[in-house]
Symmetry: C2
Subunit: 321 residues, 2 copies
């Protein structure tokens, strides 16, 4: 980083936004519900006070999230005056078609402790379970008008917390969710679509994964291997794989849950989920990745079986075994 970022509070961000116009909002690679919901909520909130705001199309957006951003895509001739990233800890993980903006992000709104301060201004609240909570607080400071933002922000909060079930949930998360529902968030439909609906292909994959978990280290480590072959067998697509990282760690007594997923290019995407006191971030940093203390990831250039063994060893080390 050449410059140092200037930290802003939610209220300062609101004042900063009020003074500006012509916003373009960026998300990260393999965008999740928090990134896309935060982007859509922010965009809706800015438009609600008469600002011009768009979301840069993210080609990796999966089917389930398309509806939240597709109304906010910029016209071809749009030239942004202000560039904002959401939920993006480092410029290096910005969506690939945003490289042209990587060195000129004006404001970053985020909740990751690993945020590198790559933007000119940053508003990073690591106490928030979801970036959507930060956006909610900013919109409340900006205008209090959140009705158009309610559903996408509900998507942001609910997806980053496994529908309010993960350890990152706080009293504030639930309170904001309550206010979003009161403001008109279509929570029933979101919950049904995102958390209580599985394609038949995904149900078949889950059936196979649940029957074939690999346990090691006195059953304190559980690993699921999702190869391209198994994906083809069950017919799942990328869009069917939401929250798959949280399957192995549900087995009773498991302290480190690992999913090794073979990507089409032959590399493997690793997801690690741990209990408090076991550092998922540290495990993934060994392989050039990172994340949160209990939820982290990395991509490794290994065969699936080799990646599985390497991760099992790293997990064992993290457990002091």
């Amino acid at each position: 980083m050449i410059h140092e970022t200037t930290r802003l509070t939610n209220k300062e961000v609101a004042a900063w936004l009020l003074e500006r116009d012509g916003f373009l909002i960026l998300t990260h690679r393999r965008p999740d519900g928090d990134a896309l919901g935060s982007a859509a909520g922010l965009c809706a909130g800015l438009r609600a006070i008469g600002k011009q705001a768009y979301i840069l199309e993210n080609p990796e957006t999966t089917e389930r999230y398309l509806e939240y951003t597709h109304n906010y895509l910029p016209p071809p001739d749009f030239v942004p005056q202000v560039v904002i990233s959401v939920d993006t800890a480092d410029a290096g993980i910005l969506q690939k078609n945003a490289w042209v903006y990587a060195e000129r992000v004006d404001l970053c709104i985020d909740h990751h402790a690993s945020n590198t301060g790559y933007a000119a201004y940053s508003c990073v609240d690591t106490d928030c379970a979801a970036c959507g909570e930060v956006v909610y607080e900013i919109l409340m400071a900006l205008s209090g008008e959140i009705s158009a933002a309610a559903t996408p922000l509900y998507v942001a909060l609910s997806t980053d917390t496994g529908c309010f079930c993960y350890a990152n949930v706080t009293a504030e998360t639930l309170e904001i969710a309550s206010r979003l529902v009161r403001a008109g968030a279509d929570h029933w439909r979101v919950n049904k679509r995102l958390f209580r609906t599985k394609s038949r292909a995904r149900m078949a994959l889950d059936g196979a994964l649940l029957s074939g978990l690999r346990f090691s280290h006195d059953d304190r480590v559980a690993l699921a291997l999702v190869t391209q072959a198994r994906m083809a067998e069950t017919g799942v697509t990328e869009d069917d794989l939401d929250d798959i990282a949280n399957i192995p760690n549900q087995a009773e007594g498991v302290q480190v849950g690992i999913v090794v997923r073979e990507l089409p290019d032959g590399s493997c995407k690793i997801s690690v989920r741990t209990i408090p006191g076991v550092d998922a971030n540290a495990i993934c940093r060994k392989f050039g990745g990172g994340g949160h203390p209990m939820a982290a990831g990395c991509v490794v250039d290994m065969e699936p079986e080799d990646a599985a063994v390497a991760l099992e060893i790293a997990a064992g080390e993290a457990l002091g075994m």
Copy 2:
């Protein structure tokens, strides 16, 4: 019913409780988290204001919920002055060892629309997702002291809403959950234990069920058959079967999800889950059961395969097919 029940508001219940002492709290057969959490929360709240209060031991309490009630069991010589039932729509489904009290329930606190008004006084709020919400409002009116009740009431709310994911969740549900967490509810541990931990036997059973769902009626009906043989094969116990009713209805496009579970006595316990507009209660009433519009159940005296076919037909009728 010989008498007619007197309806009380939350505030009237609080005043009613203040005037009385020597409480015994009853739950229903096969008690769930809402029944036991409501009972424990109410008992804790009454004790917090110096009242003598106990919960009648329910022998059908499963391992996962024992910890919430075991400190509140009455001494052998306890003679109740006031008998209260929670989460129990009809005297006929009271826990079996409470038959002696069936005709003398003084107060019923509940949230079921099907409540039959069997108690002398009733406080039934059908807008509440969980009976625990009603108990929360009563305790707030009673003293505002909810710290000892926070964890059991969180158990009540979270278990009846699938950790805030079902269609019954309202803004109030989330707001009360937020206040319970703020009051000290141990939500992380509850979520991990009740929603994000499965025994290895249950994981194996889920694997088998997901791989073997029966689809009918243009895939709008999905049915899972849990026979005693399959339970024995996978090693699951009663305590492992929580929320199993919500597996088939997760398949994309399914409008009626049915679980037929063979009981040790050869009868079958049926759970039906539907989407809005398809009446689960009506389906189960045909077999002498009932419940909520989108979540109902019954017990039928049939072989599992016969029960499955009968339910598939009833589901088809409910879909107008």
